[in-house]
Assembly symmetry: D3
Homo-oligomer: 247 residues x 6
């Protein structure tokens, strides 16, 4: 099985980190194809950046999905997820989507913990988008500076663990999602330091993508995610234009 | 007062139609600056097209907002609205946002009626995005072919009126929003044929933008729509890059 | 355009204050007709007082709406709003209704800040009545004595600003509504002291009333706010009895 | 035990009917004091009429509650209920409130069936006011003429039973509330003709009022229904003014 | 009237305490038949224990309901309530169900206060099961040791009162339910020490059961709680097997 | 990896069918241990039967989980799931839980289709229990007789496919879950006959259980699903008593 890990952030080092975690999380025989956005922000934190990223997600998928069995939107709040589900013939899953559904099996209410306050409003919109507010305990963002997005996981590890512990006590979280690609791999490292289960969003997405491939559902020909009529579209890459044009 | 009407659809004729309706709806002294997307679909109907449009909205605003007092996202389900609210120093309002809030004053529950079934899921996500599901009666889409998006309003007028009447009876709608820029102006023409108030989304947005300018609230320096830290961004127009970079 | 500002509180000085703010907020050419309740409490703070006020609102409107283009229920939690919408042939809007819808464009979640704890439960019912709980961050009431309801705005200004700042930090409010007619005009005075937008409920109502008049929707002949069959009613003013009787 | 049945409708014959049903439903030893509104509509069906009735409810209670152990707002959507709970030192319960809570024990979702379409929106607001939308299956109103409100129960009996049966099948109601004082007593007559339990709102209110008296909870001295500070109020009856003034 | 008080906890002393409170709360002429579970935990605090208790509730009812007019599931979060409502021909009510519905008449939002933290998640599920989350202020559990479940009420009285007072101030509770059979009778003892009404769940259940009997609704022959087709069932008591088999 | 498939229904043939589907769905190297309830109904359809099954689920798990890596509650509405999550040191997942979360990735709103009307209310409670009502389109039950629960899948195949197609059209379902162990394997057989994706609950549960094992989260030591203090429990199997007693 081949999984496309499409990172609409433009930082290659974060893609590399996610790919590494994805390969460890994957079943034997699963190959990870990891690609990085060319247009946009080094790491997406706001709705404005996510709006740029949403199109980049579709560009990455149009250009790299052929030959893959499923695709992962590898930015936490899933920019472009709905569009990608409409356009592609393979299954598509987002980091936030997969992590939240996984968290639902591990507790009644989950919190999302991340490393930058700017991400809060965008993350909340992701929970609302997935209509999972009923399962949300809180979203909590560390308000601490860091040097390098590629090493933010290591730089802030101790502070993030402290925040997770507070979230359990203060927000009544039953399970915590570590939100954001740059935190990939952290859950496994610190899980014995926090008294509730931690969810790694990259590992969750890989396993959910595999599960979808195994389940082998048909793509919808009616209702919300069905392929739409061919449509001319201008100003995008030839591959994306072909996808819209259904050639 | 100068209002930017930024249409992320790529059909100039639809922009012209909306601008005409906007000018009629505006207060004396309000000038409408109408611009059309260069990248994307001739008329946006799906999430995939909306994801392309979201970035185009921000491009249009980055390039044309300077000198304006407020801006309107002139595509019904408001692609790029959140991002534009973050980026711009002026107020921004969306067609769906303005129409729904206006509808809330005219009835307890509104329906949205539009002319293409492909729009249904995307429109529903817009209602959910604005957290107004509690006020929604239904979303109903005409399933009829049309020749030309620029004249869809006239081509389908009779069928749309019929659908509106059915929506009042069957879905218990207290008020109906005619959704989509191509339907701008229709509400005024047919209002006596439907037994509940109709909301024209372009007229609503113009009046809400004017109201926001009149109210003159400060832009937030904290919480959800505050301007964020400067961020390098690649692959976008110089104007948009400058906006992200806060130059 | 002529707008009726119907204050069901019995304090003329508060009406005067609201009328002054309304005139500043209004478009050129809009005339404000301000009237004050004769029956009820000097300032409404509880459900019991609001129940008396609801009828007084309808009395004021029955007697003063003729000749006006729209009417405003000029008490924050909108006593009598639904009844007035049913009875009158012109559009009717409430202070809380207008302020909340305006706030929805300025942030994801609003708080309401007011000057007397007794108002809390009644204000919460107003948010629930408008089915906007999904957009509510909190309702916060200053618990401080004041001398004169007509000058409460000035007396408590500093404390209200402090409370607003706390509400942003503690309740995650994106925008704050200053609730209550006696606070009319305060938002404009202190807006640079609070880090999120403030909404003045009187200014919002004036602009929303104007927008409704401009939009010129028909009054419903079916569903929730349609005029009802003529009904004899006893014990009310002749004007109100005529309105019920549809003479 | 003495229960005040305060009917803010102005039709004595409906009060008589309700009092008769109340006496049958009451425990031995419970006395029913039934009073009728002097101001307002012969039977309340709209929000406008309910706004007039809300004050009349408080007038009736101010004048007749002394000496009673609990009071019932004897109009289905409970006009003035919140105000009465604030003002009186005895427990107060509404017909809709009692019927809905009773219905919650008899099924997962209840429908309300009544005899006049004008009542639909007002009844829906009553369900929303009590925050019980999660338990509502539907509100259904017979659209049939009747001669005399005092005999509507008998005139429309067969049609109402038919409607109840349809509501079970079409709306998935587990239990049905017959809404409106004029239908008091009908549930008992026709219960074997409808396949789910029927709730008589007058009988429910009597039993709930008795239960509240038996439970003997204290009146709140803090939070939502606590007695408020004395307040001067003008234009109401001396008894009501005294209640507001806490003499 | 004869009411079955079926306690699926296995502690006879708690049954005795509840029976005593029930007898005081009951109307004259009501007889209380109190029975205690033979299988399960001495006092149920977790979902696992509640799952064992759910079946025990049905066993107790199958064996003791004959001859009774209504039955009470005498453990706070109502284990087995839905099943018992399906199986029995008499009305069945739960302690949590009755207490919450009673609380709804005494305030807008209730809190549940209990004596053991382990009960929190299970109690929350009970509120969710009854679809009453909209009326919930909080669930708060004392975290203090006690010696004997039969005397926990007396041992922890002072601490529980303190917690109730904090819940009013911190969680904005309008009314407090003292949750759990072992606290039966406490509400009456301490009601003047807490500034909002307290609800005794046993007293509430007795009065609600009596009200249901008085209302005399039919048992459903359609929809959610109707008796189902006869079904063979193995491994249960002969009485319960007969109930399933509809002999 | 070893997965326990614990069927609290008492029909061995249904267990066999589920085990067969589970083995096909599982990854290479996953072993399925399938066990069948001894106490209860041949196939669970009501809340009463589910209450018996909840305890049987825990009995099966107490006796067969040792040596397994994760456990599946193999009855659709997940009787005993919460209790099993509390008691066991391995991960536990339910058929409904897994199927619904899987469905959430395949569409915005799912319907559940099953073969017996008696199941409707119980299934709805399962959706409510998982707080996923926001994602539910409908629950639809075939109302057709069948001969043998072990072959109901084949007997009713054509009728179920017809119902699925109607559900897509009438209820706007984006994805359909075939609910109930006896339907295991049907989704794969008929997926090209229904225009939206179908979810097989057994296959979904196997893959979700594998994903949980792969993710390797810690078991909570605080909050909702933490292991509780040892508790004596009577009348259950020695294995289950040991689990409660934490020996």
């Amino acid at each position: 099985m081949k999984l496309l890990l499409a990172n609409p952030n433009t930082t290659q080092a974060v893609t590399d980190r996610m790919a590494e975690v994805a390969r460890v999380a994957a079943s034997r025989g699963t190959e990870i194809v990891a690609v990085t956005g060319q247009v946009g922000a080094p790491y997406i934190a706001t709705r404005a950046e996510a709006a740029v990223a949403a199109r980049e997600t579709m560009e990455l998928m149009a250009n790299h999905a052929p030959g893959c069995d499923a695709a992962i939107v590898a930015a936490f709040a899933d920019p472009g997820l709905g569009g990608a589900k409409e356009l592609l013939d393979i299954q598509v899953v987002g980091l936030a989507e997969a992590a939240m559904l996984m968290a639902c099996m591990l507790g009644r209410r989950f919190s999302i913990v991340t490393f930058a306050t700017a991400r809060g409003p965008w993350y909340r919109e992701a929970v609302e988008y997935h209509l999972l507010t009923s399962r949300l305990a809180s979203i909590r963002c560390l308000d601490a500076p860091f040097q390098d997005i590629a090493h933010v996981r290591a730089e802030l590890e101790a502070l993030l663990v402290q925040l997770c512990v507070r979230v359990v006590r203060e927000d009544e979280a039953d399970v915590i999602i570590l939100g954001g690609g740059p935190l990939a791999g952290l859950a496994g490292r610190v899980k014995h330091l926090v008294p509730v289960p931690l969810v790694d969003c990259v590992a969750a997405a890989v396993r959910q993508a595999e599960a979808l491939v195994a389940l082998a559902p048909r793509k919808a020909s009616e209702r919300t995610f069905r392929r739409r009529a061919a449509k001319p579209i201008t100003g995008v890459s030839p591959a994306l234009a072909r996808l819209f044009g259904r050639e």
